[in-house]
């Protein structure tokens, strides 16, 4: 098993700055503009994940699951602590799945391929496998604005899964998928883990998470409440 993927997080924290009208400010702007509150969305997070692990993030809405996934995916920057993520990362972190409504499924697949680092030629070559994995059929040639949330999630996942991944980060959107496609997601997650990669998935559908993860991290109020065996942690969370 290649030891090419790892996550090592120590004392991780991220702060959100607000102005007096409760609009979010960037830290740069917060320095030059008198602001309002500056709460920590996450603070003191310690987490180590090794090759082959599948980790579920569970917890109430607003507990910090999505923010942690975005930090792991390099979409947000942390304000304190250290974060080391090794390996190529694939993400599916929003219901929109990074898709632009005016473009067709095919055009989105090409665009996202280029954005994640493929050459235009590689992105074009990846389109046909993406079409097949997504199972969208003729809808692949239609504008994404005509797609349901589940169809978007299918396409977003197919694009993310097409990359040569070491880490797969999923945030609830896989829960919008139908049962047929959930099996595809679980299969791909298993393949990533079998290849020495890591899967981190957040959500509220614990049955779905159980198909991809054997470990769970219970997040509460921006911190880690419990970390351990999937069923033990989920049982504690559900009965809390």
């Amino acid at each position: 098993m290649p030891l090419n993927a790892s996550i090592d997080v120590r004392g991780l924290g991220i702060q959100f700055h607000f102005d007096r009208q409760r609009r979010v400010l960037s830290p740069t702007l917060a320095r030059i503009r008198r602001g309002g509150p500056a709460p920590w969305a996450l603070r003191g997070i310690d987490l180590s994940v090794g090759p082959g692990e599948g980790v579920a993030l569970v917890g109430r809405t607003g507990s910090g699951k999505t923010t942690l996934l975005r930090l792991l995916g390099g979409i947000l920057a942390h304000d304190e602590g250290s974060l080391e993520v090794r390996g190529r990362v694939g993400t599916l972190l929003s219901p929109q799945a990074g898709l632009l409504g005016l473009l067709t499924g095919r055009e989105n697949a090409e665009l996202l391929g280029v954005l994640v680092g493929m050459t235009p030629r590689q992105a074009r070559a990846a389109v046909e496998p993406i079409r097949q994995v997504s199972g969208l059929g003729e809808s692949f040639e239609l504008p994404v604005s005509s797609y349901s949330e589940g169809m978007r999630a299918r396409l977003g996942f197919a694009v993310a899964a097409q990359q040569d991944l070491d880490l797969l980060l999923l945030d609830e959107v896989h829960e919008a998928m139908d049962h047929e496609f959930r099996a595809v997601v679980a299969e791909r997650a298993e393949a990533v883990r079998a290849g020495g990669g890591i899967v981190v998935a957040a959500g509220h559908d614990h049955a779905v998470l159980a198909t991809m993860c054997d470990r769970a991290v219970w997040m509460d109020s921006g911190g880690v409440s419990h970390d351990g065996d999937f069923h033990a942690v989920v049982d504690m969370y559900v009965s809390s």
């Binding site: 960037s26 830290p27 740069t28 702007l29 929003s94 929109q96």
Partner: protein
Amino acid sequence: MRYGRGRLTMVKWLLDPYAAAGVYLLLVAFVLDRPGDSAGLSLACAIVPFQLILMTVLNSLSSVQSRRSIVVNLRFERALIPFSSAVAEAVGFVATLTLIVVMMIAYGVEPTAAVLWLPVLVATTFLVAVATAYPVALIGLWFPDTRPIMVSLTRAAFFLAPGVVALEQISDETSDWLRANPLTGLFEAFRSVFLYGHSPAAWQLLLPCAYALVTLALFVPLFRREGPQFAKLVE
């Protein structure tokens, strides 16, 4: 995608600049019957590059928010966002160039060998548009309430340059001040090539390029530093 799909795409692309700028041209050149040689062509030489700058400003002001679905889902080079705004508007800009051709025909102005400068003019205008896109995208993200003001300021920049009248028709003292506006060099470079039929003066290209390079040097690093915060701001 702006012009949709299908057989009318090309027609809409070609008509768009006339809808956006043609009215100006008809009003000032023909209805107001302004004095001076080829007043409509002189105006077109200002309107054409200005359209790219204005449209890039409009696009850039909401460029990060309009790409929200990608910003919150993917790690990618955020500095591509303003650049892509300028590229998107450059497609319309190419169609706008036909305004100059139409005005040259209308005024019977024959092209000279100076038209070979066209690629340089297009490249300089595009460089200014790209450079402007970076600070504008940040302002649109940081201060969304100021977007209408930014558009008004951009329009004001047109009138603080020799847009409606050529630089040679403005007093020396005032024209010296107007040269500090990067739009002045662009407008006059287009006039040099298409109206006067000679090569543009060095300052007409160098001043806009200097503005663009200084702006890029200042704002691209700032934009890249802010990039990891965008997912917070567009939520």
